[in-house]
């Protein structure tokens, strides 16, 4: 079994699976249960400044999107930062860290955008023995209206400024948690780096309304007939999160900046994908909120088995392995030509590929007698829609055409050489690109 011990910013944890700052890490009771269940670390639910804590709504905080059989695909929430007094949280953090010295314990913090506020809270957090802090610049609801959370995360200058304060008043690792509710995630990430951040974590939740009650005309979750946008998370957001992670991982301005990956991680495979895109570890929330803390067992054993298969002895072995393969569209090889191929032995004759291709794509699948579905190579552009809608895994595959063969669609020979849009004769900018 591969060793999952992970070193992230000098903070070691027995595995790369941390619980993200969220309801599961709101108090000692939960965090102890999480550590007993095997989680490598936790980011404690976001602390606010000293004084009366925030209050939450007293109606529903969560809304959900379901797949088949009420499988939870997406969750949104309008919960705020911790609504318990700062002292209580700090005492509990100290006790838990003392009892679990091998686990990572990170304090998530959100205080007003004033140097004094950060200067006041940071020494107190340091006293708990926490391994580091995470700056909550991502929370998109409630706190942002008060000039905190994503209101900071959406202004790179603020990120840089606050990060700098934190590095000034705190001597352990500082992680900046980024909001996805921006147009270009590279900017806030670079700002964090410029401010001295040791790492960024992303994504925080996405502005969302999960549904509208068509009887009351209220968005859900509904509080007395009204709804507010919440933060969206869960499996549905994973593709968005991975794209943002990869943007930061391959941006020259943030090259080498450690990343803690967050966003819909539910299984070991999700985690491995985030790590391959440049994350040093991952944070999980919705999966735990859906299934309980025990899911970490599947994640740990699955990741370990896969690492054994690949010959990895440490998580760092494959951090960022996929990053060099993330590129811009213009650099994709236009001489790579594939055709869909239907395995007739596996085909169950549902005809979904046919309907999809005939109605919405390239009329490249024929329907013969006895419901035999075949690809028309002369029309197939290898768009992959048939693969995506086929209910049978691996029944339809994309087969690469070998160099030298003639593409029956274009009548042209498949070239061996790599050629992309920047070199293509149809590109008016082609010359400029060279």
């Amino acid at each position: 079994m591969a060793d999952l011990t992970t070193d992230f910013l000098g903070i070691t944890s027995p595995n790369p699976f941390w619980l993200a700052s969220a309801p599961p890490t709101d108090k000692e009771y939960n965090v102890r249960r999480a550590f007993e269940a095997g989680w490598g670390g936790v980011v404690w639910k976001t602390l606010g400044a000293e004084g009366p804590p925030v209050v939450n709504v007293n109606g529903p905080r969560y809304g959900a999107i379901y797949g088949a059989d009420r499988r939870l695909l997406g969750l949104n929430n309008i919960e705020l930062i911790t609504d318990r007094p700062l002292e209580v949280n700090l005492e509990e953090m100290a006790r838990v860290k003392a009892d679990y010295p091998d686990r990572a314990l990170i304090a998530s913090i959100m205080v007003p955008c004033e140097e004094g506020a950060w200067k006041a809270i940071l020494p107190r957090v340091a006293e708990t023995g926490a391994d580091g802090i995470e700056l909550n610049f991502g929370c998109p609801h409630g706190m942002s209206e008060r000039g905190m959370g994503s209101a900071v995360g959406q202004v790179p200058e603020y990120i840089e400024m606050v990060t700098r304060w934190c590095k000034k008043y705190y001597d352990r690792p500082v992680i900046v948690k980024l909001t996805p509710n921006i147009t270009d995630v590279r900017k806030p990430a670079a700002a964090a780096k410029n401010g001295g951040a040791d790492a960024v974590s992303l994504i925080n939740t996405i502005n969302s309304i999960t549904s509208v009650n068509l009887d009351t005309m209220s968005p859900e979750p509904s509080i007395d007939g009204k709804g507010s946008h919440g933060g969206y998370c869960g499996p549905a957001v994973k593709p968005i999160a991975m794209s943002m992670v990869s943007e930061i991982a391959r941006n020259p301005d943030t090259l080498g900046l450690p990343i803690s990956g967050i966003g819909g991680i539910t299984t070991w495979r999700d985690a491995a994908e985030f790590i391959s895109l440049g994350c040093g570890n991952v944070q999980v929330c919705t999966a735990a909120m859906t299934y309980g803390f025990k899911i970490v067992e599947e994640m740990a054993t699955g990741l370990s088995k896969w690492m054994d298969e690949k010959g990895h002895t440490n998580v760092r072995d494959f951090v960022g392995q996929a990053v060099p393969n993330v590129t811009d569209w213009q650099y994709l090889n236009l001489n790579y030509i594939a055709k869909a191929k239907i395995d007739q032995d596996q085909c169950i004759k549902c005809g979904r590929c046919y309907a999809a291709c005939e109605d919405t794509s390239h009329q490249a699948i024929s329907m013969g007698a006895d419901r035999v579905f075949e690809v028309i190579d002369e029309e197939c552009v290898a768009c992959n829609l048939c693969v995506d809608v086929c209910p049978v895994e691996d029944c339809i595959t994309m087969e690469q055409m070998q160099p030298g063969a003639v593409d029956p669609r274009t009548g042209k020979r498949v070239e061996e050489t790599y050629a992309n849009w920047t070199m293509h004769p149809n590109n008016p900018m082609a010359k400029a690109a060279e």
Partner: protein
């Protein structure tokens, strides 16, 4: 007070009222809404779906399942009922395992089809439970049509004719409408008097009057109907029952299975309904299975279905055969009745083994005797009392196109007409299609 299963003779009260209640509860309990959503989600929404092709009434199955998925069971029901007005009963009694579900791509791929029948029941139950009747009559055409027989074919024809604006009178030989839905379908497939509820719901289209206790030869003549109405649709079913042609079949204790099934269906109190200790059912169709299962559910100790051919030749589907054996019915193959023994009433039946010799079935000479205080004959029904004017095809009324008989202005459909399987759903399709044809002719 219960006699128990081992008391000899044909007796009532073999089981307790709790056992009877359990035995005659719904064979397939209806889906709860979440179950329906999960079941509906398994449908792949196939292109040109094989299930639709397999459905005798051409219900757009992928569409109605998708409507259930989308939280619109009433719309799903309308999709079903617009093709098959008895979609509620068909959801309960259709041999889906040999129709839509047999060709479901998931049956072919995984041996586990989308449960189309139960989904259809879910949708139609929701709509009928709401009391809504989604169909409206067209403007009155002034035309009058007589429908003889208030079974599935007659009801489907009458509803469609009424919807198209014609005035319909349905005549039925029995005291209640419904035909085999009321008198022939196994009780555990149509609980809570569903057949009558469905008829009542169907009649809410308006424009249909029902006259019971009237049949051809009993107050009605074809000539009279042709004179009094603009068109006639015959859906008289198969009123005659075939004889066993075995010695002793006139002894007390020997009954027609269709009568037994009908009596059980109409019984006010199943506790008072008698059944033998040793029941032997002769036949291999759905009627044989239903009679055998009912006997077992009423408390018979031993129930045997004796069929003269092998299992694969049986008219009853594999599902029905399995249902019977799961209830404790024994299926005997390749045996035919030779003689019913007994002094004053049946006590034993002698069965002779059969074998196929040069393609014809013959007795081998070897026989076996089974205890049998009740023998139920389920060897088929036949057409009875058909006016001479009508040409026959084999032993059924000959029809061309959508049920046109040899007599002008007279259509026929359902079990009495040639062509098609003797299924409820086939009868519905024939009734519906005949109505469309009658409408076209009356408007011509």
């Amino acid at each position: 007070m219960a006699h128990g299963q081992t008391a000899p003779g044909i007796l009532a009260g073999r089981l307790s009222s709790e056992e009877i209640e359990t035995n005659f509860s719904d064979l397939h309990p209806p889906y709860a809404p979440h179950e329906a959503a999960v079941a509906a989600d398994r449908c792949y929404f196939c292109h040109d779906a094989p299930c639709v092709t397999a459905c005798p009434t051409d219900i757009d199955i992928p569409l109605f399942i998708r409507q259930i998925q989308g939280g619109n069971p009433e719309g799903a029901a309308e999709t079903i009922l617009s093709q098959n007005i008895l979609g509620g009963m068909c959801a309960r009694v259709c041999p889906t395992e040999t129709l839509c579900e047999e060709v479901c791509v998931r049956e072919v791929a995984e041996g586990k089809p989308v449960e189309i029948g139960r989904l259809q029941r879910f949708a139609t139950d929701v709509l009928m439970g709401s009391g809504e009747h989604p169909f409206m009559r067209a403007e009155d055409t002034g035309k009058r049509v007589a429908v003889v027989g208030a079974g599935p074919a007659g009801l489907a024809c009458a509803h469609r004719l009424a919807m198209l604006g014609h005035q319909v009178t349905i005549y039925d030989a029995n005291s209640k409408p419904g035909g085999l839905n009321e008198y022939g379908i196994a009780a555990y497939k149509a609980t809570n008097d569903f057949a009558q509820a469905e008829v009542d719901w169907l009649l809410r289209i308006g424009g249909i009057s029902v006259e019971c206790n009237a049949a051809l030869g009993n107050g009605l003549t074809l000539e009279g109907l042709r004179e009094a109405f603009d068109a006639v649709f015959l859906a008289v079913g198969l009123a005659g029952v075939n004889a066993l042609r075995a010695q002793g079949e006139d002894k007390p204790g020997v009954h027609h299975a269709v009568d037994f099934i009908s009596e059980v269906r109409q019984a006010d109190d199943l506790l008072k309904h008698p059944v033998g200790r040793h029941v032997v059912v002769i036949g291999g169709g759905m009627t044989a299975i239903d009679a055998a299962v009912k006997s077992k559910l009423l408390g018979a100790e031993h129930v045997t279905v004796a069929y003269r051919r092998g299992a694969s030749a049986m008219g009853a589907s594999k599902f029905e055969q399995d249902l019977a054996t799961s209830k404790g019915v024994k299926l005997m193959f390749n045996v035919q009745p030779r003689q019913v023994h007994g002094e004053d009433a049946a006590t034993e039946i002698e069965l002779e083994y059969t074998a196929s010799v040069d393609g014809t079935l013959q007795g081998t000479g070897e026989s076996v005797r089974l205890p049998a205080d009740q023998v139920l004959k389920a060897i088929g029904q036949r057409l009875e009392g058909v006016p001479d004017a009508l040409h026959l095809n084999g032993n059924k009324i000959a029809v061309i196109g959508a049920g046109r008989t040899s007599v002008e202005g007279v259509w026929a459909g359902g079990d009495c007409a040639a062509g098609g399987e003797d299924l409820t759903v086939t009868a519905v399709a024939e009734g519906r299609d005949a109505a469309m044809d009658i409408d076209a002719v009356l408007r011509a």
